[in-house]
């Protein structure tokens, strides 16, 4: 069981998530990318929990999943609100507020 390898994988997942956040234009696409980041973190926790035999860390991963759900709910609600009031779902068209 290569900790290093899985770690590298989580890093990659994290970096890909970040890339997605930076490039995805659709707001929901951005949320998807954020799920990648959260998954990368959760993967880390599980990995280290296994390595250290740490129970709380695994619980941490559990909480991450729960929070990801919450974040998704709120995020999607906001996107729907945006679509309703701003008539767009593209994050880069949201530029009324600036300066």
């Amino acid at each position: 069981m290569s900790v290093r390898l899985i770690l590298l994988l989580s890093h990659a997942l994290f970096a890909l998530g970040v890339y997605g956040v930076l490039t995805r234009r659709h707001a929901i696409g951005l949320l998807l990318s954020i799920e990648l980041i959260l998954n990368a973190a959760a993967l880390n926790f599980v990995l280290f929990s296994r390595a250290f035999g740490h129970v709380e860390a695994q619980a941490f991963a559990l909480f991450i999943i729960a929070l990801a759900a919450c974040e998704a709910v709120v995020g999607l609600a906001i996107v729907i609100g945006l679509a309703r009031h701003a008539h767009t779902v593209f994050a880069d068209q949201v530029d009324l507020l600036k300066g």
């Binding site: 770690l7 989580s10 994290f14 998530g17 970040v18 956040v21 707001a27 951005l30 949320l31 954020i34 980041i37 959260l38 990368a40 973190a41 959760a42 880390n44 926790f45 990995l47 280290f48 390595a51 250290f52 740490h54 709380e56 860390a57 619980a59 941490f60 909480f63 991450i64 929070l67 919450c70 974040e71 709120v74 995020g75 609600a77 906001i78 996107v79 609100g81 945006l82 309703r84 009031h85 701003a86 994050a91 949201v94 009324l96 507020l97 600036k98 300066g99």
Partner: protein, 502 residues
């Protein structure tokens, strides 16, 4: 300060200390945070009432009762010098107690603003109050967190509630602001979470005391990795407190959000975020030598950027957003010097900032209620249309600018002093220069209110509601009275600013 502290210690505790229940004796685990429990239950109750009852009055009443009960609980709870209930997940010490009171105070004033604000639709006010209370719980827990998991959860509770509150107005700018806030916050907290996971991987512990022990004595690639983890974690907290360069959401979100929510965001999460940042820095104290220069630099950059960009703003909420960034820069001084004096100054300035900034937002709410506009031009000639309001606003602005004898001056005085005390002369000079820059945009509003002729002559209508007057009056009274007699406050805080220092 040192001598002052010495004499304080020698003296018997004055009566004020009885108020915060600094009594000896350990509390039973689980009963140490009844205030949070009351607020949570109250928040859920208010949400229920808000969903079922007609109008927002019942929800408002319930919210006030909850707040009162929470305050009573906080008042009466025995707080030993430090206890770690819930298996060390949270830490109840005087320091966190101070922040809990700050959170309660913020909530109370914001509740006044929210109930008086005309822009919040009546239909959703009940939910709004409930979410405010839950957010308050998050703020308190942030200040108390003693464990990475608690810290993360508390921050997410605050964040998610704020996202929702920001988007509460059913209009484009509000939705925009909510989206920006959400995306920015989600990315930041994601990065922070990843940092936490790395930190855990590197140390094998999640609780702050264990972290401190594990971090101590590291070097080489391990220290390097720890620093990278710390940098990632910084992103989340810096986002919360609008520290440059994680500040960019601030103006946009402040402008789009309902004014009452902006008021909350400008104080509550800042205070709690600073508390958590301080705790985290405690946990990573062995790395302090590496973190300190960065923190100092970011402090200067934060205040400078905030103040510079505030100069060219035309929207009052946006202006106050940049002003907040500048103020956070000042607050960070207390953190960056990392001395006891600095922590005391930080607390004092937070108290000052709470009153003066919330007061300023109360004025903004009043003007928005009257004119429907949040442009700076709406303040033109306000002194003739609403003299009391203008006077109060002038007091808040001057206090923000650090003009004596207002409370903001006392705080700034101590912050600058802590910088000099720590030998950070450049930091103090930078802060002083920034104060001069900041003066421009604060006085610019005063200029508009007092020197410019009003666009229309009749008094502002509607004049501020009783709730708003209460908020204005209490903030102004506190700003002035505590500015004139800061003694008891300083006394109190010198007892509360007890953070374990290494």
């Amino acid at each position: 300060m040192k001598q002052g502290r010495g004499s304080c210690r020698a003296a018997t505790p004055p009566a004020v200390l009885g108020l915060v229940g600094l009594r000896a004796g350990g509390g039973v685990p689980g009963s140490a945070s009844p205030a949070e429990a009351i607020l949570s239950l109250g928040g859920l109750l208010v949400l229920l009432i808000g969903a079922w009852a007609r109008g927002h009055r019942p929800a408002l009443t319930a919210s006030w009762l909850t707040l009162a009960a929470g305050a009573a609980a906080l008042w009466s709870a025995p707080v030993p010098p430090a206890s770690s209930p819930f298996f060390g997940l949270i830490l109840c010490d005087p320091f966190s107690l101070a922040f809990r009171w700050l959170a309660l105070g913020t909530l109370a004033i914001v509740l006044l603003l929210a109930s008086a604000s005309r822009e919040l639709a009546a239909a959703v006010r009940g939910e709004c109050y409930g979410l405010l209370l839950l957010l308050g719980v998050g703020l308190m827990l942030m200040a108390e967190a003693n464990h990475l998991l608690m810290a993360y959860l508390a921050m997410e509770l605050v964040s998610l509630s704020s996202y929702v509150l920001v988007g509460f107005l059913r209009e484009r700018r509000s939705a925009e602001a909510a989206l920006k806030y959400l995306l920015f916050g989600a990315l930041s907290s994601g990065i922070m979470l990843f940092g936490m996971s790395l930190l855990f991987g590197l140390t094998g512990s999640l609780a702050f005391p264990d972290l401190q022990a594990a971090v101590a004595g590291t070097g080489g690639p391990m220290a390097r990795a720890l620093l990278v983890a710390a940098a990632l974690m910084l992103a989340g907290l810096a986002f919360k407190i609008s520290m440059v360069p994680f500040h960019m959401w601030t103006p946009d979100v402040y402008e789009g959000a309902p004014a009452a929510v902006t008021a909350l965001l400008s104080v509550g999460p800042k205070a709690a975020g600073l508390a958590l940042l301080l705790r985290l820095l405690e946990a990573l104290a062995p790395l302090w030598a590496s973190l300190s220069p960065l923190l100092l630099a970011l402090t200067v950059v934060t205040m400078t950027l905030g103040n510079l960009v505030a100069l060219v703003q035309t929207n009052v909420k946006r202006l106050l957003a940049y002003s907040t960034i500048g103020q956070v820069g000042y607050l960070l001084i207390g953190l960056a010097v990392h001395t006891r004096v600095g922590h005391e100054a930080l607390l004092v300035y937070l108290v000052a900032y709470l009153f003066m900034n919330l007061g300023a937002f109360a004025c903004v709410v009043a003007v928005m209620n009257g004119t429907g506009s949040e442009a700076l031009e709406a303040f033109r000639g306000l002194a003739r249309r609403a003299p009391g309001l203008s006077l109060a606003f002038a007091v808040f602005l001057l206090s923000l600018a650090g003009i004596p004898p207002l409370l903001g001056f006392v705080g700034k005085f101590l912050l600058l002093g802590s910088a000099l005390d720590a030998g950070e002369v450049a930091l103090a000079v930078a802060a002083a220069v920034n104060s001069a820059i900041a003066l421009y945009y604060y006085t610019n509003i005063i200029r508009l209110m007092y020197f410019a002729p009003p666009a229309q002559a009749e008094p502002l209508s509607p004049s501020p509601s009783p709730a708003l007057r209460l908020a204005l009056g209490s903030c102004a009274a506190a700003t002035l009275a505590l500015g004139l007699w800061p003694g008891p406050l300083l006394e109190l805080i010198s007892r509360l600013a007890v953070v374990r220092l290494l």
